[in-house]
Amino acid sequence: MELILAHHSSYPRIGDSADHQLLRRTIAQWEKGEKTDADLRAAEDRMTELALSDQIEAGLEIVTDGQVRWYDAISHLAGKLEGIRITGLLRFFDTNTYFRQPVVQGQIERTQPLVVGDFQFAKGKSSRPVKPVLTGPLTLARHSVEGDGRAGSLEQLIESYAAALTSEVSDLAAAGASLIQIDEPSLLKHPEDLPQVERSLEAFGAAKGSSQLMLAVYFGDPAPIYEKLQALPVDALCLDFTYSSSLVGIVSTQGSAKPLALGLVDGRNTRLEDPRTVAGQLEKIARRLGSARTWLSPSCGFEYLPRDRAQLKLKHLRTIREEFLGSAE
């Protein structure tokens, strides 16, 4: 089994050193009118570069921009769309972090790129392939609310978001993204929404050109819908293994029709996994998947970790792979 080290999505935008506090400081000063928009962009650029260099130095082969510009996984995308107003804070899944809720006020339309610019910047600064990440239409819709006097269905809302994101996928592909990740953590909470996710992925598939689409599900156990995930029109799946006691067993008995990103390293806890235990899980899976291309990844973004621990966990991915390759010899 070829094992590629790939980051999941977000990365800490802060750390304990003064250098790592640049963005926090700049935002605080920008809010008081002491820094310009250009200053803020420059600080975001700098934190993006630091997120990239941490990943590259740790030996990751697929990196992300760390989403350091994102206020949160929902409003960063929804807030750039027409027809949406961003409002108060709500808790994001079981993370004890908060997102700003979009209120749908009119027809949703994408009149500007959402993350294409961020992707291009990161690509220009990285010696490794950069994977852009989009929050999927189901997760956006499930975290939005209809404004006064509107009574659209959830299904329509998912479709509207999907239409906007389809243009984004097309532009990301044109900008040179070889792998695009669509995050749908809400799918594990609402497996009944699978048909809508399937339709949106079909639309993305028609727009993706030669790039590959990866669907990422996390903050829950994918085991109960594993077979259904396999049937979705995407090129690869990224799975969170930390909520499930049965997923390793399922993958190693049923195999996988698609390349998998194995989220075996916990993005939500600072404890470093025992490399031998994870290597053992990888061996089990490898026996079934054979020579298939596979990614080793965190279970979710790393923004939930303090920076020092996030750095350790990135390096830990390589340690685990060495343990796996060593024991496989």
Binding site: R13, Y71, D94, N96, R307
Partner: protein, 330 residues
């Protein structure tokens, strides 16, 4: 039922007792002192002096407004989990993680066996209670929330962590009771986020309170109650302090379908809004509560801690709810 329990504890409350969830805004001089202390510019004694001054300010303010069951306002706390993590053994302070926007906090890491070694809140509770004849609530964070809001590098799983914490937090409850606290609130705001773990939260709270003689309250917020109701009624407490106004009183619909069997501290003002509710808004919320809940079970308070409001906004919100509760009482 719970009213009898209060009477047995020697506490006689009017209908619609008014109270607060816990935190109040810190006055400017205290915020400055906390900043100075962090930079090493002032001593711990100086900081505590300022915290006492602010606690006294809030006790006097609540008395002046006519609140029935007081809180110390948590002037000495930064964060509701980190504060306890700093005082219990077995924790380390982690690096900064983001809460939202440009807000960050040091999330604690459990690196060893957790152990209660000395009272944590008792000194503050006593200081506040000595200032007033009204009852002051003892205020703690519950084991499930401390577990969920910390990293864990020591215990094998979430349940084991929660139960280990429960055993130690119980010792703080015992110390509060020994000092004379009759009403103790154990906050569990994390309870609603993983409905499948409700039993773990219940088990934890049971280990904290079982067999102890006090009137227990728990505060839960951030919605998603539809997934844990009515199961949450099994929690071994007398009173649920719930955020009602922020969600447009949606929970009353759940109470209609399945009877709410405990006392309730009914949140009648939204803590996330700068706007102070007009009297008729508060009154309407209470009247809707009365349509569904027995009069003798209802306490009146804000949705959540008021610490993110200004001193003036917090005062005005408390004033509004006290005024309406008193008017309806008569």
């Amino acid at each position: 039922m719970s009213r009898e329990k209060l009477q047995k504890l020697g506490i006689d409350l009017p209908f619609f007792p008014t109270t607060s969830v816990g935190s109040f805004p810190k006055p400017d001089y205290l915020l400055k002192a906390r900043g100075d202390f962090a930079k090493g510019k002032i001593s711990r004694e100086d900081l505590e002096e300022k915290s006492r001054q602010a606690t006294e300010f809030w006790i006097r303010k609540q008395e002046e407004l006519g609140v029935d069951v007081l809180v110390d306002g948590e002037m000495y706390r930064g964060d509701m989990v980190a504060y306890f993590a700093e005082q219990l053994r077995g924790f380390e302070e982690g690096g900064l993680v983001r809460s939202y926007g440009n807000r960050y906090y040091h999330k604690p890491i459990i690196t060893g066996e957790v152990r209660w070694e000395a009272p944590i809140t008792v000194g503050w509770w006593k200081y506040a209670q000595d200032l007033t004849e009204k009852p002051v609530k003892g205020m703690l964070t519950g084991p499930y929330t401390v577990m969920d809001w910390s990293f864990n590098e020591f215990y094998p799983g979430r349940r084991e962590t929660c139960l280990a914490l429960a055993k130690e937090i119980r010792r703080e409850v015992e110390a509060l009771i020994a000092a004379g606290a009759k009403i103790i609130q154990i906050d569990e705001p994390a309870t609603s986020v993983r409905p499948e773990e409700l039993q773990v939260a219940i088990e934890g709270l049971r280990a904290v309170t079982e067999g102890l003689s006090a009137y227990f309250i728990t505060h839960i917020c951030y919605g998603a109650f539809e997934f844990i109701y009515p199961g949450m009624l099994e929690m071994p407490v007398d009173n649920f302090d719930l955020e009602m106004s922020n969600s447009g009183l949606d929970m009353l619909e759940l109470f209609k379908r399945h009877r709410f069997t405990k006392d309730i501290s009914f949140g009648v003002v939204d803590v996330h809004s700068h706007v102070v509710e007009e009297d008729f808004v508060v009154e309407e919320r209470l009247r809707q509560a009365l349509d569904v809940l027995p009069k003798e079970s209802i306490w009146v308070d804000p949705d959540c801690g008021l610490k993110t409001r200004t001193v003036e906004e917090a005062t005005a919100k408390l004033q509004a709810l006290v005024k309406v509760a008193k008017a309806l009482r008569d």
